[in-house]
């Protein structure tokens, strides 16, 4: 088992759009003065929603906004599993595979998505559209198998349902 550092990435500083900054400042405003670090996790969600993943330059910018050291942002971003530290597809499928989902068939769903998209867990389709990841318990145990994509829960998954979901995301992407 080899632990790897983040993939080589472009470290050119990034700027955040005025809309992003408005959103970020609102979040900072939720916390008492001097406690702005509390906004960090939610800001990382904002960053990832805008960029699709959580890059080093984006984290550096967050550190600058919160007046903390970049390492404090890296430490937090790497602790929480929702932050994609390397580039991912437009749509990331995170399929739950813990006990309650496993006993109602999550393994079959994962295998089906792998076959359907022709990727392995962790991989991204060649068109950059989909990434498949597994997740540990997403808190939808009674409605399993469950997966999440862009904060949306897809429940009671069947192979037919997976087909529909993939088709819907493809269509949405094209119509964009």
């Amino acid at each position: 088992m080899k632990i790897s550092s983040p993939e080589q990435q472009d470290l050119t500083p990034v700027e955040f759009s005025p809309e992003m900054m408005t959103e970020i400042n609102q979040v900072i405003g939720l916390f008492p003065e001097g406690k702005s670090k509390s906004a960090l996790i939610r800001i990382l969600h904002i960053v990832q929603t805008h960029f699709g993943w959580t890059s080093v330059p984006a984290m550096n910018k967050v550190a600058e906004i919160l007046s903390i050291q970049p390492i404090e942002v890296y430490e937090v971003a790497t602790f929480y599993t929702m932050f994609h530290l390397n580039p991912v597809g437009n749509y990331v499928f995170e399929v739950c595979r813990t006990g309650p989902c496993m006993i109602v068939g999550s393994d079959d769903i994962i295998a089906y998505i792998e076959q359907k998209l022709n990727i392995k867990v962790g991989g991204t389709t060649s068109d950059g559209m989909f990434t498949l990841k597994t997740a540990e318990c997403l808190g939808g145990c009674g409605y399993g198998p469950v997966m999440q994509c862009k904060y949306k829960f897809h429940e009671h998954l069947t192979t037919e349902k997976v087909d529909e979901i993939i088709e819907a995301y493809r269509t949405a992407s094209i119509s964009k």
């Binding site: 670090k37 906004a39 996790i41 929480y80 808190g139 145990c141 399993g144």
Partner: protein
């Protein structure tokens, strides 16, 4: 007759997620009553009388927890709601917050008043971002109607409510890890003492309560603690939300009166309606993945042959030898075709994945158990691996900073205790174990009684 409902009674009313409908159906009555007619101490007293125990899993008496809150002059106090619902098998808080968000907001206001907090936080797991937006909308509505902000209902009491998301970490359900995370840090549990009641959020006295616990304060204040305590048996009072999952005809979230029999809950028409696809039950984990698994013959009856009830005490009857725990109420049922070894492996993988990595027994031990169980599940294990697992979990249990170590160790220990022959079969019939499941096990009642 499915019993009284105190939390979900109105959940099916169309529009109940909006302030107007919620208020029209008796919502925010507890805020009105508490702020206008009661002192904070009187609210705490009612909660004590109710016998309410923490609904997140530990079952600590809520009134007692509240009374431990330090109240130094000039230092703010905080109420933090633990909405980091992540225990496998548990999805009740998500249901409550999504369907009837104002119940949580109402509970937060009444409870914050009781504790003297003027800013309170709801920490919700990051995966539930859509519920964060539901809650923020409800908060905005409550504020627009004078239930939040300055001088609520003319009482002179001020309260702000803030929702903050996590980023994907089960450990943040542990209250001190939650506080670290709410401070924008890694979710490493803190060393205790000091407890949050003395030094919590930003070093200030803090109470951390589960969503369901805070919601339960609403009926307690409305009808009085004594009325609440009339429901249930012994020290299991009131109603409890149960998340039912696995191979059931009707999985989902149920509000039950404490004391319903386990048999009624699994097979009754008002509840889960039995095992799906006409199969037989093999095992059940009654309180979320961290509590001991029970084989079918110990689920509906205790080792002494008495009916097992849905209460803290009855589910724990028999201790670790033949009992389990109510925990968070994450009720997972396995049919005869499920593989206990594989399920135990997924749980071990879950805990290894969720260990914060701070203390050595948990960081190294959970990963080790995961790997050994992976081997056993995939037919590469040895008989010695089974005793190795038992030894590893004995060395983790009790030796870690926070309860995640115990939570990781107990399910493995219990699975081996009750399903040892299935684990052994995975070694002796390794190839066959890859093609079919072991099926039901023989009850080992005598052995278990003497354990």
């Amino acid at each position: 007759m499915a019993g009284r409902k105190l939390l979900l009674e109105n959940v099916h009313i169309p529009g109940i997620e909006t302030y107007d409908v919620y208020r029209k159906n008796g919502g925010y009555a507890s805020v009105e009553k508490a702020l206008k007619k009661m002192t904070p101490e009187e609210v705490v007293e009612e909660v004590k009388k109710s016998g309410l125990r923490g609904r997140g899993g530990a079952g600590f008496p809520t009134g007692m927890k509240w009374s431990f809150l330090a109240k130094p002059e000039g230092v703010p106090r905080y109420l933090v709601c633990n909405a980091d619902e992540s225990e496998p098998g548990t999805f009740k808080d998500r249901y409550l917050m999504e369907k009837i968000p104002h119940l949580l907001i109402e509970g937060m206001i009444t409870s914050s008043y009781a504790l003297g907090a003027n800013v309170s936080y709801i920490y919700i797991r990051g995966e539930f971002m859509y519920i964060l937006h539901i809650l923020e909308k409800a908060i905005a509505e409550a504020r627009a109607n004078g239930m939040l902000g300055k001088n609520i209902m003319g009482s002179g009491y001020d309260l702000e409510l803030v929702v903050a998301p996590g980023g994907g970490a089960y450990i943040c359900g542990e209250e001190t890890a939650l506080l670290e995370s709410l401070e924008g840090k890694r979710g490493n549990p803190r060393m205790k003492p000091p407890f949050p009641a003395v030094k919590g959020l930003w070093g200030c006295p803090t109470v951390v309560n589960n969503v369901e616990t805070i919601a339960a304060v609403v009926p307690i204040v409305n009808h009085g603690g004594e009325d609440y305590a009339k429901i249930g048996i012994e020290r299991s009072t009131g109603t409890k939300l149960i998340s039912a999952s696995g191979n059931l005809v009707r999985p989902g979230v149920y509000e039950i009166e404490m004391g319903v029999s386990v048999e009624e809950f699994i097979y009754g028409d008002d509840y889960c309606q039995g095992i799906a696809n006409g199969k037989r039950m093999k095992a059940c984990i009654p309180g979320g993945s961290s509590v001991p698994i029970l084989p079918a013959h110990l689920v509906t009856k205790t080792a002494a042959g008495e009916n097992r009830l849905m209460t803290y005490e009855s589910l724990a009857d028999g201790g670790f030898a033949s009992g389990s725990m109510l925990g968070s109420g994450g009720f997972i049922v396995f049919d005869e075709d499920q593989c206990i070894v594989k399920n135990t492996y997924t749980f071990a993988r879950f805990y290894a994945h969720e260990s914060c990595g701070q203390c050595s027994p948990c960081r190294e031990g959970t990963g080790w158990m995961e790997k050994v169980l992976h081997r056993l599940d995939h037919g590469h294990g040895t008989i010695e691996d089974i005793s190795l697992l038992e030894e590893i979990n004995k060395k983790i249990e009790g030796n870690t900073i926070c309860p995640l170590g115990d939570a990781a160790a107990w399910p493995v220990a219990a699975a081996i205790r009750h399903f040892r022959e299935e684990f052994e079969w995975h070694v002796t019939h390794a190839a066959e174990a890859q093609t079919r499941n072991y099926g039901l096990i023989q009850p080992r009642v005598e052995e278990i009684k003497t354990l």
